[in-house]
Structure formats: structure tokens, C-alpha cells
């Protein structure tokens, strides 16, 4: 039982990492949104599985909120924003696809090296997914710094949040419920404010490319 559980968790976590890496080579905002949606569904499913097999019923609630918020509501809002602004399908990045993928691979490797000593510390059956969570964290950070469009930076940020939620679930079976709820509230509010700013940027700059945002220097 435990063996299957562990394998299931690693499978779902790897799926999440894969959706992060997809962003590095796919072009077009809809593909990014789809990747994020898949990632959130996987996270939600895994949270429920850990709740069931680890005997933490509060994780069911977390899984449901995750599904509603990050699996359904945020992707819908993102799609609405994208429909409104999309003028050009091609997305620009500061780094080309090949280099992006190589950097992504290096980051995954780095995460494995970094988390190596943790394996001895914990006996949780989910521990094999820890390096994957750290890898997703680094890949999300790389997405944020290497993309040019404001909306892709937002998606990178949402993936970063997912990676931390993944870390919390596989490392500790979730942070205390009160904190978890606060995090969700912040995520929702933060996203809504970012959404408002996307409209503001679009109206004042008539573009969503952040390299146009270079008025403020020194």
C-alpha cells in the first residue's frame, strides 16, 4: 500500500514539474494557461490522496479549495484576460528555447543535489517527491525572470505558489489549516490586484510587454 502511495505521489509531482517545463518550450499564452490548469488539478488530486493515505482529513478541504481556486477560477480569469489583450500569439522571452530547456535541466539537477541530505531526515512515504518540488520552485522562478509578457510572469508566479504548496504537502502533510486559508486568501487577492494592473498597464502603455516598462531608472 505504502509503495503504491509513494509511487503515486512521485508520479503526480513529476507531472507537475513537467507542466512547468512545458512552459519553457511551448509558445502562446493559451498553452501556458493549459499547463497551469493541469498543474493545479494534479496538485489538488495529490493533496486529496495524501489526505486519504496519510490520514489528514483537513487536506480534503485544502484540495477542494485548490481545485476551485487554482484549477477552475484562476484559469478562467486568465483566459478572459488573454482573450481581451491577445494581439500576437508568439511570445517573447529573454532567453531562447534551447537555452531555456538546458537551464531547466540544470535547475532540476541542482534541486536533486540540494535535497539529497534531506532524505535521511524524514521517513514520510512522500519524501521522494521533495526534490521534484524544489525543482519546480526553481523552474518557476526561471520562468518569471526569463519571460517578457506581464501575463506570463503572472503565470510563473502562480506556478511558484503551486510549487510551495507541493513542498508543504509532501514534506509536512500540509501547513496548519489557518495558515493555509490565509495563503489562499492572499493568493486570490494578489491575483485580482495583478489582474487590475494588467488592465492598467494595457491602457497606459498599450502593450503587455514588460521591457516597455523602463521609464524608471536611477
Amino acid at each position: 500500500m505504502e509503495g503504491i502511495f509513494a509511487r503515486l505521489v512521485v508520479l503526480a509531482a513529476s507531472g507537475m514539474l513537467l507542466t512547468g517545463l512545458i512552459v519553457l518550450w511551448r509558445k502562446g499564452v493559451p498553452a501556458y494557461i493549459a499547463a497551469f490548469t493541469w498543474q493545479s488539478w494534479l496538485l489538488s488530486g495529490m493533496t486529496a490522496a495524501v489526505g486519504y493515505l496519510g490520514g489528514e482529513p483537513q487536506l480534503y478541504l485544502v484540495a477542494v479549495i485548490l481545485l476551485l481556486l487554482k484549477g477552475i477560477a484562476l484559469p478562467a480569469l486568465l483566459r478572459a484576460t488573454d482573450r481581451r489583450f491577445s494581439t500576437r500569439r508568439e511570445l517573447l522571452a529573454y532567453v531562447n528555447t534551447e537555452t531555456s530547456l538546458i537551464v531547466g535541466g540544470m535547475l532540476v539537477l541542482f534541486a536533486y543535489v540540494l535535497t539529497e541530505p534531506w532524505m535521511a531526515m524524514t521517513k514520510l512515504p512522500t519524501r521522494a517527491a521533495l526534490p521534484v518540488a524544489m525543482a519546480l520552485l526553481f523552474v518557476s522562478l526561471f520562468i518569471i525572470v526569463s519571460r517578457k509578457k506581464a501575463i506570463t510572469q503572472v503565470i510563473g508566479f502562480l506556478m511558484l505558489e503551486n510549487s510551495i504548496a507541493l513542498l508543504a504537502v509532501v514534506g509536512t502533510y500540509g501547513v496548519p489549516l489557518l495558515v493555509e486559508l490565509g495563503v489562499f486568501l492572499d493568493a486570490l487577492m494578489g491575483f485580482l490586484v495583478m489582474q487590475i494592473f494588467l488592465y492598467d498597464i494595457h491602457e497606459t502603455f498599450e502593450t503587455l510587454e514588460v521591457d516597455q516598462l523602463a521609464r524608471l531608472k536611477h
Binding site: 540540494l114 496548519p176 498597464i201 524608471l216
Partner: protein, 485 residues
């Protein structure tokens, strides 16, 4: 009781502005009164901590107010009251319409509430939630006038700080992972007191990584170099009262979070790893701040870079043991008063001259005699001249560095402070004297706002000349809250 009195007023203020339509002037005035109530509660807390030596802990252990929390609450409440009194909507002619005034009042009070909760909660997870919420509530107010540069500044602020603060949460989760792996899942495991008690058994390597994440995360929010890049934009584009709050106390709250975590990590590692990290980040910030001051052309950005410099000094102070921590907390208080005063005055200057460029402001002493004099005092305080409080705290900082054998640190800090000194005085000189530009009205009446700012200057002088014992007492308690004896 005191806690309710501290936290309820900003909540009520924010909600009442949200719910009541019209009667802006009355509503705005009542929010100012509520902020004053909050301030009196924080004074009460300081008194409690000082005379009775009491740490207020709620029955479930979720809230906890020791000397350090009381000190921070006092600073936050003071600066909030100032910002509220200088904010739009009080009926005087200003450049904001009623909708903007409402938005300002709703979110600034929410912002103040989040900062107050952050310093009074015992749960480090919840502390993170509220500090993240400060980013959201303050980012909404920055583009009160929707211009290209203010939208750009608030976007940079929101994105960089959200990402940074997310890393601080990753650090919190890693520390929690460490705790759960060694001690198992116990209730209230994210309470600071529980973490600190369990610190000797925590696994050091993981705590190092967690602390690195936490310093990068909260350091982004505190404006420590090299994560400070959003700070000069956001602080210079925000409306003056919000700049005062962000520069005066928001940075302090982020440093507070780092100091709480440092107290845990110091015990867990039993080494000076945390101090080394803060020392390096602090010195880099002082250097970046000081040298950026040299090339500034805008006076609000100048004040923002001066914040980077001062937060760097606080970070250096926290790395230098009990003596350094004393200097750091005193410096934080001094900086909160001096910087909010300077930003509010800069707002008045901007209102009159209609330019943020230093070159566009001349003859300030002639055009606005009161504002000019007070602005000169604020800048002289910020460069660390006696008789102002920052002279004392910087002196204590250097003394702490020499006492703990960090001679090089002391030398570098002195040199960089000198650089800041020369460049700030040069800029100030250009603004104060010379002929007034054409089209700028001359003359200024002395109202209650000037009196309030003169009060700030008086506080700075008192802190610099006398350093009365209630102040030293509460700061000593703040030091013992986070530094092992």
C-alpha cells in the same frame, strides 16, 4: 484588551470608509480619530511591557506582544496617524478627488492593520500571510493618479515583492518541515515560541537553507540589496503619506520578521551563520544606498535610496550581538520618525513646485519657509548629524562593531555614511537656496500640519540629546526578545 484596542480601530476605519458613501470629510476625520485611538493602545502596550515587564499572550497562544512587538506597534501606529492626518479627503484643497480619497483611506487602514497584526501574532505562518497582504493593500494605493510611471512602479513592486515573499514562505515551509521531521506534528508548531523552544533539536543544514530563503524573501520586502530594485520606484511614485508608511514602518516590519527568524536560527545552528548573512546584505545595502544617492536627480528617489542605506545599517546592527541589536532597534525608531517626516514634507514640496526633480526646486527657504526649514532638519537628521536621534544610533552601531571586533565593518560603515552625508547635503543645498522658479507662489501659512511635523523634529531632538529612560527601557526589552543573553 489593549490588543483589541490596537487592532480594531484600523479595521473599523477601513470598513466604515468602504460602507459610508458621501460625507467624505466627516468619515476621513473619524478615521484619523480611530488611528489616534490605535496609537494610545500601543502606548499602553509599551507601558505594560516597560513597567510591569509583562508579555501579553492570548489563551490559545496565537497572539503575543513582548517589548519588541510593542515597540514596532508604537512606530506603526504613530506613522499611520501622521499619514492619515496628511492624507486626502480632509476637506482641504488637494489634487485628489473623492473616489481617490476613499480608495486611499480604505487601503491605507487595511495596510496598517496588516502590519499591526504581523508584529503582534505569535504564529510565523500567519505573520507571513499578513506581510504578503501588506504588499497587496499598499500596491493598490501607489497608482492613485494613474500615470505611466506610477503604474510601472506598482507593477514592479507587486511582482517583485510577491515573488520575494513567496520565497519567504518557502523558507517558512522548510523550517516547518525541519520541525515536523524532528518533533512530529504537534499543534501550534508554527508558533514562534514553540519553534524557538524546539530550536536546539532542529537539523542545522536545513535551517540554513530555510533562513537563506527567509532573508531573500523578507529582505526583498525590507529593501535589502540586491533585492531592493523595486523600492526607489514604488517609494517615489506613491502618494506622500503612503511613501511615509512604506519607508518608515513597512521596511521595519520586514526587518522584524527577519529578526524573529534569526532568533530561532541562532539557537538551532549555534553559530553566527545568520549574522554573517545579515552583515553581508547590510553592508551591500549601505553601499548601494550611499552611492546611488550621489547620482540622484529626483528628491523623492533620493529619500528612497536613503531608506536602502538606513535599512542596511539596521541589518548590520542586528548582526552585531546585543549592543548592535540595541543600536538597530533605536535606529529603526529614529528612521521611522525622520523618514516619514521627510516624505510628508517632500509631498508638500511636490504640491507647490509640481516637479520631482532636484534641479526644479530652488529657493525653498524663501518659497516655503516652514517646510524648507523642517525639510532641512529632516535631511540633517537623516545624514546622522547631532543633535538628532540618528546620530546616537549610528554612533552606537559603530561602537558595537568595534566592541565585537568588526573593525573593518566599522570603517566601511563610517566611510559609506560619509558618502551619503556629502551627497545628501549637496542636494539639500541646491534645493534650499537660490532664486525661486518663475510661476511658483511664494509664502506659506503655519497650520496644524506644520506643527505636527515640527513635533516629529522635536522627537528626533529628544532622542538625540536625552534618550529618556522609557525609550532605552523598551529597546532593552526588544533586544532581549531576540538576542540570546
Amino acid at each position: 484588551m489593549a490588543l483589541i484596542l490596537l487592532l480594531a480601530p484600523p479595521l473599523v476605519a477601513s470598513l466604515s470608509v468602504m460602507l459610508v458613501r458621501g460625507r467624505m470629510r466627516l468619515v476621513a476625520a473619524s478615521t484619523v480619530a480611530l488611528n489616534a485611538l490605535s496609537l494610545s493602545a500601543s502606548v499602553w502596550m509599551c507601558g505594560d511591557a516597560l513597567w510591569r515587564g509583562r508579555t501579553i499572550v492570548s489563551s490559545d497562544g496565537f497572539w503575543r506582544v513582548d517589548g519588541l512587538s510593542a515597540l514596532l506597534a508604537l512606530s506603526i501606529a504613530t506613522v499611520t496617524l501622521l499619514a492619515s492626518a496628511f492624507g486626502p479627503g480632509l476637506g482641504e484643497a488637494d489634487e485628489y478627488d473623492e473616489g481617490q480619497a476613499r480608495r486611499f483611506r480604505i487601503f491605507v487602514n487595511a495596510f496598517a492593520l496588516m502590519m499591526l497584526v504581523a508584529v503582534t501574532t505569535n504564529n510565523v505562518g500567519f505573520m507571513w500571510v499578513t506581510i504578503e497582504a501588506t504588499t497587496i493593500t499598499s500596491a493598490v494605493v501607489i497608482p492613485l493618479h494613474r500615470t505611466k510611471s506610477s503604474v510601472e512602479a506598482s507593477w514592479k513592486y507587486l511582482l517583485i515583492c510577491s515573488v520575494g515573499i513567496a520565497l519567504a514562505f518557502a523558507g517558512t515551509v522548510l523550517a516547518y518541515f525541519d520541525f515536523v521531521s524532528t518533533a512530529g506534528r504537534v499543534p501550534n508548531a508554527l508558533n514562534w515560541t514553540v519553534l524557538r523552544a524546539a530550536a536546539p533539536t532542529l537539523q542545522g543544514e536545513l535551517m540554513q537553507l530555510a533562513f537563506a530563503f527567509i532573508v531573500v524573501g523578507y529582505g526583498t520586502k525590507a529593501g535589502l540589496a540586491p533585492m531592493h530594485t523595486w523600492l526607489p520606484d514604488a517609494h517615489s511614485e506613491a502618494p506622500a503619506p503612503l511613501s511615509a508608511m512604506m519607508s518608515g514602518v513597512l521596511l521595519a516590519v520586514a526587518m522584524y520578521a527577519i529578526a524573529r527568524w534569526k532568533a530561532v536560527v541562532d539557537v538551532a545552528l549555534g553559530s553566527d551563520f545568520a549574522s554573517q548573512l545579515l552583515l553581508a546584505a547590510g553592508l551591500l545595502s549601505v553601499a548601494v544606498g550611499a552611492f546611488s544617492l550621489v547620482i540622484q536627480r529626483h528628491y523623492k528617489r533620493m529619500l528612497a535610496y536613503s531608506s536602502v542605506e538606513h535599512i542596511g545599517l539596521v541589518s548590520v546592527g542586528l548582526a552585531l550581538g546585543p549592543l548592535g541589536a540595541f543600536a538597530a532597534w533605536l535606529h529603526l525608531v529614529n528612521h521611522a520618525v525622520a523618514k516619514s517626516m521627510a516624505f510628508l514634507l517632500a509631498g508638500r514640496i511636490l504640491h507647490r513646485y509640481r516637479t520631482t526633480e532636484i534641479a526644479g526646486v530652488s529657493g525653498l527657504l524663501h518659497v516655503m519657509p516652514w517646510t524648507g526649514r523642517l525639510f532641512a532638519m529632516a535631511i540633517l537628521a537623516l545624514v546622522g548629524l547631532p543633535p538628532f536621534g540618528l546620530f546616537v544610533s549610528e554612533f552606537l552601531l559603530v561602537r558595537a562593531a568595534i566592541h565585537t571586533g568588526h573593525l573593518w565593518t566599522a570603517a566601511v560603515v563610517l566611510l559609506l555614511v560619509l558618502v551619503a552625508f556629502v551627497s545628501l547635503l549637496g542636494h539639500l543645498n541646491r534645493m534650499l537656496y537660490g532664486a525661486a522658479p518663475v510661476g511658483v507662489a511664494v509664502g506659506e501659512s503655519c497650520g496644524w500640519r506644520i506643527a505636527a511635523l515640527a513635533g516629529c523634529a522635536a522627537i528626533l531632538v529628544v532622542l538625540g540629546v536625552a534618550l529618556p529612560w522609557p525609550v532605552t527601557g523598551i529597546i532593552e526589552r526588544s533586544v532581549s526578545a531576540v538576542v540570546m543573553p
